[in-house]
Each structure stands twice: as structure tokens, then as C-alpha cells.
């Protein structure tokens, strides 16, 4: 994050007048810049131009099909615009059931994934760091074994009572979600220097549960959130396994329901995208703490943690361990730790800000 601000801080000046002689606006000394720097600034101007061009082209590729779909779904009778396709959609047989089933599967799969993966990731990091390589390998197996292969294997071996239940899908979705959950959580744990946090809170007398609930999970909020988002997106969009297992989740239902009116089908497709988007938006809104005052600082510290905390954190957490002896509150160790790194992050940003103006 901070890595990018530095060159772009310079980019601001270059963009305003790419070829201009900088002298007057140059920060710091006020004398003319060396030639290499001037050239670098011109290059930044070009980078900005190309960035804009790339984003516009990519935006067009991704938005045009959406626009085409929207137009088509609104042109219900071929004459004028109408929302008839959308109102017809919710009346279709099975719409509610399919959405509800998808939501249930998403909840179950996400719950199991988190319950399974959070302790595993923490355990591997804290107790068995050597196993991480193996874990990297094992968690990429679900990518090696495509869903279409997995489902024929599952249907081959699963007992009848399990095959009769749609929740077999949820159990398999957990497997599909493992690669994403592992990577998201692994990155998160690596960023917070978990060992120091654990040592600090243990020396303050926290049990394993307190440690998890009051120290580790709050720090892993962003990682847990992104694991959740990835799992939910996966479940809400999964078609292969659901259709081959013949259960009408929402993506499978879209194919199965009465296709006599293509405008309604188009509306259903857009709805599925919007539905996923809304659910993900809700999750990230619930998962994010309110942005105000001190809380914001902590959150930034947790987010920008990797740069700021790694070298500094160790020393400061040790210091806060000493200070915590007064209150003997494990959460305090965490707060002190985050506070200090927040200050560091803030100071670093201010430095960059100063260089920019």
C-alpha cells in the first residue's frame, strides 16, 4: 500500500504539466531537479496516461455485456422499456426456493470453512511452521481436481442418505473454498506477527480462548472477511456440482426454469449477478467496524500492518508487555501494540504527504 504512494506522490506534479520545468514547484530544496529525476517525472506522466487508457478499455470489455444484458431485459415487448421481465421473474415457480437454498448452502459452507480453517491456519503458523509448505500443496489440490471430476467421484461413493440431501453440496463447497480460505487467512496471519501477539497475551495470563477471541480474531478481521467473501461468492455462483447433483440452487435454477421468454432469462442472469454483489456488499459492511476516531487508526494499523509492524512491532509489543503488567489485560497489550504501529503508519503517511504538496 505505502509502496505505491511514494512514486505517485511525485506523479502528481508531473501530471499537471508533464513537460514543464519544475524548479518553482519542486519540494524540498527549491533548486532545479537533477536530469534523471526530470525524466522520471515525465515517465510518470506517461504512466498516468497509459493507466487511464488501460482502465477505460478494461472497463468497456467488462461493462458492455452488462449494458447489453440490461437493455435486452428491459425491452420486454420490443416496444419501449418495461420492468415486466423482472416482475415476471419473482413469480416464476421455484424462484424463492432456489434463492433460499443457495443462501442456506452459502451460510453452512462459510460457517464450516471458517470453523475449520481459522484454527488450522493459526495452529500451523504457531506450532508447526514447517508444515506450511505441505499445507500450500494440500490446499491447492481442490484446484487440481476439477469440480466436475470431484462430483462424479462423490456421487460414486457417497451413501444414499447423504446424496438425498442438498447439504452434501455445502460439504463439498467447503473443499472448493479451502484454497481461497487458506490463502486469505495465511496472508493475514503472516501480516500480524501472530507469535509476538500470542506470547504477549500469554504472558499477561490469557487462556487460548481469550487469546483467540480478544487478540487474534480482531487482528485477523480483514483476512477472515476476505475468506468469507470469497467463499460466499463461490457458493452463490457454483453451477457445475449443483447441476450434476441435480439440486436447484439459484445458478442451476436459472437454467432449468421456463425458458420460453428470453427477456426473463436475461433478467434472471442480471439478478444473479446483482444478488451476489449485494450479499458481498452486506458482508463487508457488517464486517467492517464503524469509521471513527481511534477505531479508524487501529483498523489502518491492522490493514497496513505488514510494512509498519514487522520491524517495529516486535520491540513495541515487548514494551507493551511490560506496561500491561499494570493492568494485566490481554486486550490492552493488543491495543498498545496496534496504537504504536498506527502512530508509525500515520507518521510515515505524513512524511509522504509532505513530499507530495
Amino acid at each position: 500500500m505505502s509502496a505505491t504512494t511514494s512514486p505517485l506522490g511525485l506523479g502528481f506534479g508531473a501530471q499537471a504539466e508533464p513537460g514543464a520545468v519544475p524548479g518553482a514547484r519542486s519540494p524540498g530544496t527549491g533548486t532545479g531537479r537533477p536530469r534523471g529525476l526530470k525524466r522520471a517525472l515525465a515517465a510518470r506522466g506517461r504512466v498516468r496516461f497509459w493507466r487511464l487508457a488501460v482502465l477505460v478499455v478494461a472497463g468497456a470489455y467488462f461493462l458492455v455485456p452488462l449494458w447489453a444484458g440490461l437493455r435486452y431485459s428491459l425491452a420486454y415487448d420490443g416496444a419501449g422499456w418495461s420492468l415486466q421481465a423482472y416482475s415476471g421473474l419473482s413469480g416464476q415457480q421455484g424462484f424463492g426456493t432456489a434463492v433460499w437454498l443457495s443462501v442456506q448452502l452459502a451460510v453452512v459452507a462459510t460457517g464450516v470453512t471458517l470453523a475449520l480453517m481459522v484454527p488450522t491456519v493459526l495452529y500451523v503458523h504457531l506450532k508447526l511452521p514447517r508444515v506450511r509448505r505441505v499445507m500450500d500443496f494440500v490446499t491447492s489440490l481442490p484446484i487440481v481436481i476439477p469440480p466436475v471430476v470431484l462430483i462424479i467421484g462423490v456421487l460414486d461413493v457417497a451413501p444414499g442418505w447423504l446424496k438425498a440431501s442438498p447439504f452434501l453440496l455445502a460439504l463439498e463447497y467447503v473443499v472448493l473454498a479451502v484454497p481461497f480460505a487458506w490463502r486469505a487467512l495465511d496472508t493475514g496471519v503472516r501480516a500480524i506477527d501472530a507469535r509476538t501477539l500470542v506470547d504477549a497475551s500469554r504472558s499477561l495470563g490469557a487462556g487460548p480462548l481469550t487469546m483467540l477471541r480478544r487478540v487474534l480474531l480482531p487482528n485477523l478481521r480483514a483476512a477472515v472477511l476476505s475468506a468469507t467473501v470469497l467463499t460466499v461468492a463461490l457458493v452463490l455462483g457454483e453451477y457445475t456440482m449443483a447441476s450434476l447433483d441435480q439440486f436447484s440452487t439459484f445458478p442451476a435454477w436459472i437454467v432449468l426454469f421456463d425458458q420460453s421468454n428470453s427477456h426473463v432469462s436475461e433478467a434472471a442472469s442480471l439478478m444473479s449477478l446483482v444478488l451476489t454483489w449485494v450479499v458481498l456488499l452486506l458482508i463487508s459492511m457488517i464486517g467492517r467496524p464503524r469509521r471513527s476516531g481511534r477505531r479508524r487508526l487501529w483498523r489502518r494499523a491492522a490493514g497496513a500492518g505488514r510494512v509498519a509492524t514487522t520491524p517495529v512491532g516486535t520491540g513495541l509489543a515487548g514494551a507493551s508487555g511490560g506496561a500491561g503488567g499494570l493492568g494485566a489485560d490481554p486486550a490492552r497489550a493488543q491495543k498498545a501494540y496496534l496504537w504504536s504501529s498506527a502512530v508509525v503508519a500515520e507518521r510515515r503517511d505524513n512524511d509522504l504527504e509532505g513530499g507530495r504538496s
Binding site: A3, Y61, F62, L66, A68, T120, S140, V144, V255
Partner: protein, 271 residues
């Protein structure tokens, strides 16, 4: 640990079952017949098409995705970057029939929106023999989720490019071309290749989108496996589907081993 039990039960056992069934005759007993059937005729054609499709839809989106990821990475607005990452997460999982319908509305017929636009500027898309329901049509649609996927996987790799290297390079008189030629690309290369392999494996495994677009008329291995499950099968060939699945796993496994080796090399710069 519960994790291992879970993976064994819901991943290891089914995968093992596929491996066993691939070498089992329709009335039991060991045989290589399935494997032979799976590598001849229309099934061989399926493997060829799938490999070709995966090659095209991994290399092209890898390049586009890397450029896009760099554009996003250099953006000064953190909110914008976060929005793009979220959007990429949704789009990378967006496939199957909904995606097929969006593209049908865009270029599905001679009077669709984009086809009309192209006609208006004098390009007759359908005059070139293109249809959305052919190999190239499927490839076009695959890129809709391959590019966001590439953005997602390659974005962390750009973190490895320290701005100080660029500053050092330009301090030594390097132009930006020199910087990319001698510093940027070599550092990123393992990550880029690894991500491309990941996309390749992903494209090999994709089922929903091709199924929705072509309804099985294009010979692709995942679709053929699916049709075995739906019971479209000749007498005596019930287990050929498992052999196809086995073959698919072997190909993807080879690709993923390459991915793992490259990742190890790439991680050198990420410390």
C-alpha cells in the same frame, strides 16, 4: 486434525474412487480398456480442443490481466483499488448461464448490441464466420472471468516491485524501457508464469460456461465427463467417463506442479 479428516473424506475418497473406477471394467476387474477408449476418437478430439482452448484463454488473459493489475496497482486511490479487487472477486466467480446470456445479448446474433455497433463502423463480425457458439466464441467468454482472476492472483506480486528499484534505475540513467527489460520483467516473470499456469488449469476445468454456450456441441473434456454422469453413454463404456476424469486430473496436476515450482522461485522476491 479435523482439517485433514475433512480433506480426506470429501476430497481424497472421491478422487480415489475416480482413480479406481478408471481402471475398472463395466463388470468389474482391472482393465486398460477405459483409458484406451478415452484417448481415441471423439474423446481425443475433446482433449485436444480443451488443451487448445486452455492455452489461448490462459496466455491472452494473463497478458491483459497483468497490464490491468499494474494499472490498478499504481492507482493512488486505495478505495478504487479495493473496489476493483472486490469486483474482480465477483467476476472471477461469474460464469455459466448468466454470463452466457450476457454475451448472447451482446454478440449472440447478427442484430445484437455490439454486432450492430461494429456494423455501424463497417465491421461485419458475422461476415468473418464468427459465432458465439463456436471455439472462438467460447474463448471470448472465458476471458470475462479469466482476466479478473489474473488480476486477483498477480496483484500481490507487484508488491514485490519496490519503488526504490525504479528510482535507483532512473538514477543510474535507465529509461523506463530499460527498467522493465532488466529489472521489472525478470523479477515478475516467475509470478507471471505461475499465474498463467493457474489460469490454464482453471480453463481446463471449466464446465458451466461452455455447457451453457454450446450445450455439448463443442467437444470439450469436462462436458464429456458431465454427459457421462447424465447417462448419455454407450453400453460397455460406463467407466470411460472416469478415465476421462482421470486424464483431466493428470493434465491439470502436471500444470499445477509447474505452478508450485515457479511459485517457490517467485517467493524469493516477496520476503
Amino acid at each position: 486434525m479435523p482439517f485433514w479428516a475433512w480433506m480426506l473424506l470429501f476430497l481424497g475418497v472421491p478422487a480415489g474412487a475416480v482413480g479406481v473406477a478408471a481402471f475398472e471394467g463395466s463388470s468389474g476387474g482391472f482393465t486398460l480398456y477405459n483409458l484406451r477408449a478415452a484417448t481415441t476418437g471423439v474423446y481425443l478430439q475433446g482433449f485436444e480442443n480443451t488443451l487448445e482452448l486452455a492455452l489461448i484463454t490462459s496466455v491472452v488473459p494473463a497478458i491483459c490481466g497483468a497490464v490491468l493489475a499494474y494499472a490498478v496497482h499504481t492507482s493512488p486511490r486505495a478505495g478504487f483499488r479495493r473496489a476493483i479487487v472486490t469486483a474482480a472477486g465477483v467476476l472471477a466467480n461469474f460464469g455459466g448461464v448468466p454470463l452466457a446470456f450476457l454475451f448472447i445479448a451482446s454478440v449472440g446474433a447478427e442484430t445484437s448490441l455490439v454486432t450492430n455497433w461494429l456494423n455501424a463502423i463497417g465491421l461485419n463480425l458475422y461476415g468473418t464466420g464468427f459465432t458465439l457458439y463456436s471455439f472462438w466464441g467460447v474463448a471470448l467468454v472465458y476471458m470475462y472471468w479469466q482476466v479478473p482472476l489474473m488480476v486477483l492472483v498477480v496483484l500481490p506480486a507487484f508488491e514485490a516491485l519496490r519503488p526504490s528499484w525504479q528510482e535507483a534505475a532512473s538514477g543510474l540513467g535507465a529509461r523506463s524501457w530499460h527498467y522493465w527489460r532488466y529489472v521489472g520483467i525478470p523479477v515478475l516473470m516467475p509470478s507471471l508464469l505461475a499465474s498463467t499456469l493457474l489460469l490454464f488449469g482453471w480453463a481446463m476445468a471449466a464446465y458451466a460456461t461452455a455447457q451453457a454456450l454450446t450445450a455439448g456441441t463443442l467437444a470439450l473434456t469436462p462436458l464429456q465427463i458431465g454427459s457421462f454422469l447424465n447417462g448419455n453413454v454407450l453400453a460397455g463404456q460406463q467407466n470411460v467417463g472416469y478415465a476421462l476424469a482421470f486424464g483431466l486430473v493428470v493434465i491439470v496436476a502436471v500444470v499445477m506442479v509447474g505452478y508450485a515450482l515457479l511459485q517457490r522461485r517467485a517467493s524469493r522476491w516477496l520476503r
